[in-house]
């Protein structure tokens, strides 16, 4: 723990709230994301407790609708999208490329303020009365028939959208222009490849959401029909505009998770990632193909048959890069020397759960089965397997992996492993029963359901309680390690990345001398002299 690090470079509020240091901005994002994750999680727990019984007993129907909408909006825009890029990404990207800071530090701070402003407006809308449209804001319900705080919540999300755009812009330009000498594209760690792909989606998809939300506010506030069927408007036009953003948005959420998994699998099996170039280009392929598949949300909404065929075909194609990544991660383990530290448990959990999530995505991309399964709990289970089983697990894995670098402290390995196993078990108990509920035909967003679905709902609610407790554990032992944890060395995992060649926590200017890169990434075993880069 060297003395002049970025943490003790200043203790005043000004030094924190007007910082342009990417490391401090990452810490600001950490704190705000914990708050949003707890709010969204509380809503989720309330929903699961309500669903223990078929009839309504905990909350009224209207309250239930506002709960699941709040869970959706908060988790999607205020936790999943900003989590890895704005916290781990903000902290690690400059360190990984050997730069002093991101390309536009002031823009980075503006991004945090826009995020908090958007979050504030959305929280105001939710606590002032709530929104009952679902996070998808489908018209004409959201524009003509809902009398809840839709316009205010939509404005909040609109503002937070610009925070995403600015972060994406910052990363793209930084990765292009501020790499250390000798750091060519094929020497970049795969975490940066996936963050670059994420930023491309962030920058190209979010503006269409911004315009769609403007159209909702215009139609709702000025009473002017745009999607109103009575004057010839077409509700499906809204769905096209909304899903043009919202499907790439789910790749914004999962790609950074994949990036973290590359680092963890490679570090804890002491071996180069298998097929580096394939995994790198698979990230960009997901970003590009992700824009061609949004119609699979509208197979039964009256979309033309040809459009459904094209979108179904493209949805199968976008699954191929994901399959390539999973096979390459598994192949990386071959002939490695694997250690089962907490981050590795999260990584292995990620591979299992993400694969189940991805395969059930194929069920939904398959036209005939989607007719049965869309809008049921099958869809809920699918995207939770990817978002919670994949993204949140990877976020926790990355958090534990870079915790020593960020805080200069070591966490307790025992508690971290128990939490990882408990999360894995609680997660599966919560969401696997929902696949069966979906196959049986229980629709989503149902406050009251027929009694024969109760068995699976009780199991799922039980799992949710375990998951909620398991998610609080890292808060405890990581918080404890902040003050009482052992001091962390510069390179606790003995990893070759640039970010480990600076003290933990790093000084404000990151590197004493400008690092120069001479070898490809993931050279873990010095005895295998300079392994050639397997293509």
């Amino acid at each position: 723990m060297n003395e002049d690090n970025y943490l003790n470079a200043g203790y005043s509020l000004r030094s924190w709230f007007f910082t342009t240091d990417h490391k401090r901005i990452a810490i600001l994002y950490f704190a705000s994301l914990i708050v949003f994750f707890l709010i969204g999680g509380a809503a989720a727990t309330a929903i699961r407790i309500e669903l223990v019984t078929p009839q309504a007993d905990l909350v009224s129907s209207d309250m239930y609708n506002r709960l699941f909408t709040m869970h959706g909006i908060i988790m999607v825009w205020f936790f999943l999208i900003p989590s890895i890029p704005n916290t781990l990404g903000n902290f690690i990207v400059p360190l990984m490329i050997g730069a002093r800071d991101l390309a536009f530090p002031r823009l980075n701070l503006l991004s945090w303020y826009l995020f908090m402003l958007g979050g504030g407006v959305t929280l105001f809308a939710i606590f002032a009365g709530g929104v009952d449209t679902g996070w998808t804001f489908y018209t004409p319900f959201s524009t003509l028939y809902s009398n809840s705080y839709v316009a205010v919540a939509v404005t909040g999300v609109f503002i937070a959208g610009f925070s995403s755009i600015l972060t994406g812009l910052n990363f793209i330009v930084t990765i292009h222009r501020l790499r250390a000498p000798g750091l060519t594209w094929y020497r970049l760690p795969l975490f940066l490849w996936s963050l670059y792909a994420t930023s491309v989606i962030l920058v190209l998809a979010t503006p269409v959401l911004a315009m769609t939300l403007v159209l909702i506010v215009v139609e709702r506030v000025l009473g002017v029909g745009i999607f109103d069927p009575k004057i010839g408007g077409d509700p499906l036009l809204f769905q096209h505009l909304f899903w043009f953003y919202s499907h790439p948005a789910v790749y914004i959420m999962i790609l950074p998770g994949m990036g973290v998994i590359n680092e963890l699998i490679s570090c804890f099996s002491r071996k180069q990632v298998f097929g580096y170039k394939f995994v790198a280009w698979a990230s960009l392929a997901i970003a590009a193909l992700g824009f061609l598949v949004w119609g699979h949300h509208m197979f039964v909404s009256g979309q033309s048959l040809l459009a459904s065929l094209v979108f179904s075909f493209m949805s199968f194609m976008v699954a191929v890069p994901s399959a390539i990544k999973v096979f390459n991660w598994t192949a990386t383990l071959h002939k490695g020397s694997i250690r089962f530290d907490a981050p590795m448990l999260y990584a292995l959990g990620f591979i299992g759960l993400f694969t189940i999530g991805g395969l059930t995505g194929l069920f939904l991309a398959c036209l005939a089965y989607d007719v049965h399964a869309t809008d049921t709990y099958f869809v809920v289970a699918h995207f939770h397997y990817i978002m919670v089983g994949g993204m949140v697990t990877a976020y926790f894995g990355g958090l534990h992996y870079w915790w020593p670098k960020i805080t200069g402290r070591l966490y307790s390995e025992y508690w971290a492993r128990t939490a990882a196993v408990l999360i894995f078990f609680g997660f599966n108990l919560t969401f696997f029963p929902q696949f069966i509920l979906g196959a049986e035909g229980m629709p989503r967003r149902y406050h009251v359901y027929p009694p024969e679905f109760q068995v699976w709902n009780v199991l799922s609610s039980g799992g949710a309680v375990i998951l909620a407790i398991a998610y609080l554990m890292p808060l405890v032992y990581l918080g404890y390690s902040l003050f009482f944890g052992r001091r962390a060395p510069a390179n606790p995992w003995d990893a070759p990345g640039l970010e480990w060649q600076t003290p933990s926590p790093p000084p404000e200017y990151n590197f004493d001398t400008q690092p120069v890169v001479t070898r490809p990434p993931y050279q873990y075993s010095p005895d295998f002299a300079a392994e050639p880069q397997n293509a």
Partner: protein, 91 residues
């Protein structure tokens, strides 16, 4: 006053743009049926290309900047093409 003259390419581009504006307005009044839309958009694209190449100095820029400028248009193409596919092919 030092002898600064507006550079020739800029003046030429400006005149070309005004000329294109005049042609697109006059052509709009000639009954070409469905061809009108095509002509209007073609001239519009021409004007946009002139502004981009000369005023935005894309003609002096390397492939990376051209790639960034083109990426926005390419994704716009995806939005418009796949977006209208549903509406055009409904029975």
């Amino acid at each position: 006053m030092t002898r600064w003259r507006p550079p020739l390419p800029l003046v030429a581009a400006w005149l070309v743009l005004l000329a294109l504006l005049a042609t697109t307005v006059t052509l709009a009044y000639r009954p070409l049926g469905s061809f009108n839309v095509v002509v209007a958009l073609a001239i519009g694209t021409l004007k946009a290309a002139t502004v981009a190449a000369v005023f935005m100095e894309l003609r002096h820029r390397g492939p990376r900047t051209l790639l960034f400028a083109g990426a926005g248009l390419f994704w716009l193409g995806i939005l418009l093409w796949l977006g209208t596919m549903d509406f055009l092919t409904r029975t």
